[in-house]
Symmetry: C3
Subunit: 138 residues, 3 copies
């Protein structure tokens, strides 16, 4: 069994945003030399997500508006967590979108359907944050 | 390390529906010959889910009604994604229910609690769509 | 490839509650002797969650209030599932928070960001329920 580990760093300039990180994950997989196995990709911060969806320009503002409706940022005072922080909504938004994805690796590639892409979802940005890639297999 | 891959195809006749796919996943596991490991089962489409819950007849219409409340299908114009499409709500519903499950394989079986069953959740049906099973282990 | 399996049992005295189970998961990992691999930790019941977030005292009542807003416990009659049961809301809450986490194992440790902790989320408590840990690797 082989294993491979890599961190990706991102800094989203706004509080919230979505980044298509599929190319970086594919590059990590190529570097690993693993042909058959499982790839884990997770946010290392609890106010960010890694998820799989469609890279379509209208969908991302739809996600933003929808998440803001389900877990509003303001008023900050609505959340007990916001004593010294103002990011309680980011913890909730990340819970809906998920921390991680697990992707099959087949013949050295991400074993994806036609529209599957991996996104980093930032809900409390303006600082450098990390994503972990771990691959095991052969 | 052994690895095994299989696709399952489904066509749900309505826009939305839930299918208990546990028997097909168990059959794939038996075919793989893997006794100890991890099994990934994921939707290959970004408007469908694979999730684990109870196979109880009342629960499924509860899920349907609840998801429709959180991410309504209509009016289609409420979503930016719906320029050429009408399925933005399906992307959101799938985000709540999840893309994938990872299940422990122990002594050649799905290592489940008493009521755990695997479901395919369709949110934009009336066409053939795929689920991927990938198993690694020994 | 090595594999390791362990069950953890919990009894939450109230209907709902969150337990930080990171120490028990770390202990299981140490016992396994696995240095590089993947660790799956999942609820074995469909009215409970395993998720990763922050161990911050204000955040947990925020989660409780937020989940109760999205999937209210009462009136019980609002759910079809509640013929012989009263826990339909627990199935929905668990769907938001998730069934499982997959964590990278690197150099014998949970490969976590600074604030990542593993929680058991109980949504239908007052009885003994189980979490499964499965680790594969070398």
């Amino acid at each position: 069994m082989k294993s491979y580990r890599r961190e990706l760093w991102f800094e989203v300039k706004k509080r919230r945003g979505f980044l298509n990180i599929t190319p970086q994950v594919e590059q990590a997989l190529a570097e690993s030399g693993i042909r058959e196995g499982l790839l884990l990709c997770n946010a290392m911060h609890i106010t960010a997500s890694v998820f799989i969806n469609d890279d379509e320009g209208g969908l991302h503002p739809d996600f933003e508006e929808w998440l803001e409706g389900l877990a509003p940022e303001k008023p900050y005072s609505r959340y007990r967590h916001n004593g010294f922080e103002d990011n309680a909504d980011a913890h909730l938004k990340r819970s809906i979108m998920g921390r991680e994805v697990v992707v099959a690796v087949t013949e050295g590639r991400l074993d994806f359907g036609p529209w599957e892409r991996i996104f980093y979802g930032e809900f409390d940005g303006k600082r450098r944050k990390r994503v972990l890639i771990k691959i095991i297999g052969e």
